[in-house]
Amino acid sequence: MPTTIPYLERLEADLELVAEDAAAGRKAVPGQGGRRRRPAQGAWMRWSGAAAALLVVAWGIGSLSGQSEMALTASEHEAGSTVAGGGEATSAPRAGAPDALGVSPDLADEEAALGTARDGSPYAADIAKIDRDGTLSLKLEEGEFKPAFNEVVLIADRNGGVLLASETHGPDSGTLTLRIPAVNFDRAFAAVSQLGAVRDSTVTGKDVTAEYLDLRAHLRIAKGRRDVIFGLYDRATTISDTLRIYDELEQVQLRIEQTQGRLNYLDQQTSISTLEVTLSEREPEPAAQQQGSGVENPSLTRAWERAVQGFLGVIATVIVGLGYLVPLGILVGIGLLVFMLVRRRGPAAS
């Protein structure tokens, strides 16, 4: 039935064109119009564009995040030292400052009862367990290297520590590794830093007090359990009971030994600190020359390595940016969903 409405005639013409296209593209895309490919390609390009924009935004956010981190590190460095680690740390040497955060009588008693404290040591009652290490780089005046080297050894000795290792680079520079009781670490650090101009210094600290207290509690419980099992062991009447209790006892004993071992390790780590001292009468060589980087000595291998590093750096930056964007995207998506639901219900309700 031919229509007499002009709009329907125009629509018929459009449909005829679509049908012709579909007939032409029937083999390639059965049941689909040939024109479909153009919009589909457009949609593909739109999605690609959106993905590229998302990646660029993520990269931008990641870069900003990285820059703020670098700025923070730089400001700390300008103060003369870098602080790292998960717990207590100092940004400058504190001569004679106490290492302890305080003493709890209950816990000191508990430690004494457990027998983990080393009686007679200056920090037998110290419950703050902080693993601290540091590095110190000093610039010396000409001819001062040898006296300064000897003085560092004396400082270690005066603070109850020892020279663990040393290494000299010619007659005017060298590195010393000291092991010093943690309680004297700050004093030794301050004394050594007086020997020359401080070029660079680092103090890292990791507070393991919580882990230490946990382990002590576990040890106490395990020992109590062992006592109970001992009691049962004495009262066992059958062979099967005896064997079962023996197995249990063995497991508890193993746990006690593991816990005690970890406690001993933490004790050792937190009671002795490592201080690495670098003494030099010379200015350090520029980093570019030391590392041989830059364009002075071009190398394809180095260029490839730098390219890979650069590539990985960009990927890492994008991942950091996505870390910010994904939760934001989820929130925006939820908001849009709610908005659409409200919008849909609006006309229906009205």
């Binding site: 039935m1 031919p2 229509t3 007499t4 409405i5 002009p6 709009y7 329907l8 125009r10 629509l11 018929e12 459009d14 449909l15 005829e16 679509v18 049908a19 012709e20 296209d21 579909a22 007939a23 029937r26 059965p30 049941g31 689909q32 119009g33 024109r35 479909r36 153009r38 919009p39 589909a40 919008r343 849909r344 006309p347 229906a348």
Partner: protein
């Protein structure tokens, strides 16, 4: 040459022979336009819904299964879906036409006249008069002049002291609003076509 295949046969044939779908369109385009016009009372909306329904049917014709029912029922199923979406969202989907590369065409003056002729207002005249009271003044007046007095758009524009396009827009918006009111009251201008 008259086509003697049934609607279902045409739909099935259109998978391999897309031109068969055009024949189906010729048979039912006006019925479908009337279906939409009587429910929306908006010629522009009815025309767009018709175009989108046929585009949707063409794009998904490979999904049609001959279950023994008349093939046009399948197309009216798509039409019902389009209509409910229109009433729910207040907008007409154009995604199928975009996918097929079909242009979204507007109506010309003659189209308005012809589509309005398809709508028989007699069965709901009373409800319509009541619904008219709920319209904005300019829309109500435009509708009264156009639908009740049966004036041409140029005459309506002259009486309302506005351009012909503005007059057409007022009538169109008024009709759309009326369509929504009637839909809410469960009133339609004609029985379902299916």
């Amino acid at each position: 040459m008259p086509e003697d295949r049934t609607d279902a046969e045409l739909l099935l044939a259109s998978r391999a022979e897309p031109a068969a779908f055009v024949e189906l369109y010729r048979r039912h385009a006006e019925d479908l336009l009337r279906y939409f016009a009587r429910r929306t009372l908006d010629p522009a909306a009815a025309a767009e819904l018709t175009a989108e329904t046929f585009a949707q049917a063409f794009a998904s014709r490979s999904q049609y299964r001959d279950t023994g029912a008349n093939g046009v029922a399948w197309i009216f199923g798509i039409a019902k879906h389009q209509l409910s979406r229109f009433f729910r969202a207040g907008a007409i989907d154009a995604s199928a036409r975009r996918r097929l590369g079909m242009p979204v065409r507007g109506l010309e003056a003659e189209d308005y006249e012809r589509i309005e002729e398809l709508v028989d207002l007699a069965p709901i005249r009373e409800a319509l008069a009541e619904a008219l009271e709920g319209l904005a003044e300019d829309q109500r007046e435009a509708l009264r002049l156009r639908v009740i007095d049966g004036l041409s758009y140029s005459e309506v524009a002259r009486r309302l002291a506005c351009g012909e396009a503005a007059a057409r827009q007022r009538v169109s918006r008024g009709l759309r609003r009326l369509g929504l009111v009637l839909q809410e009251r469960g009133l339609t201008l004609a029985a379902e076509v299916e």
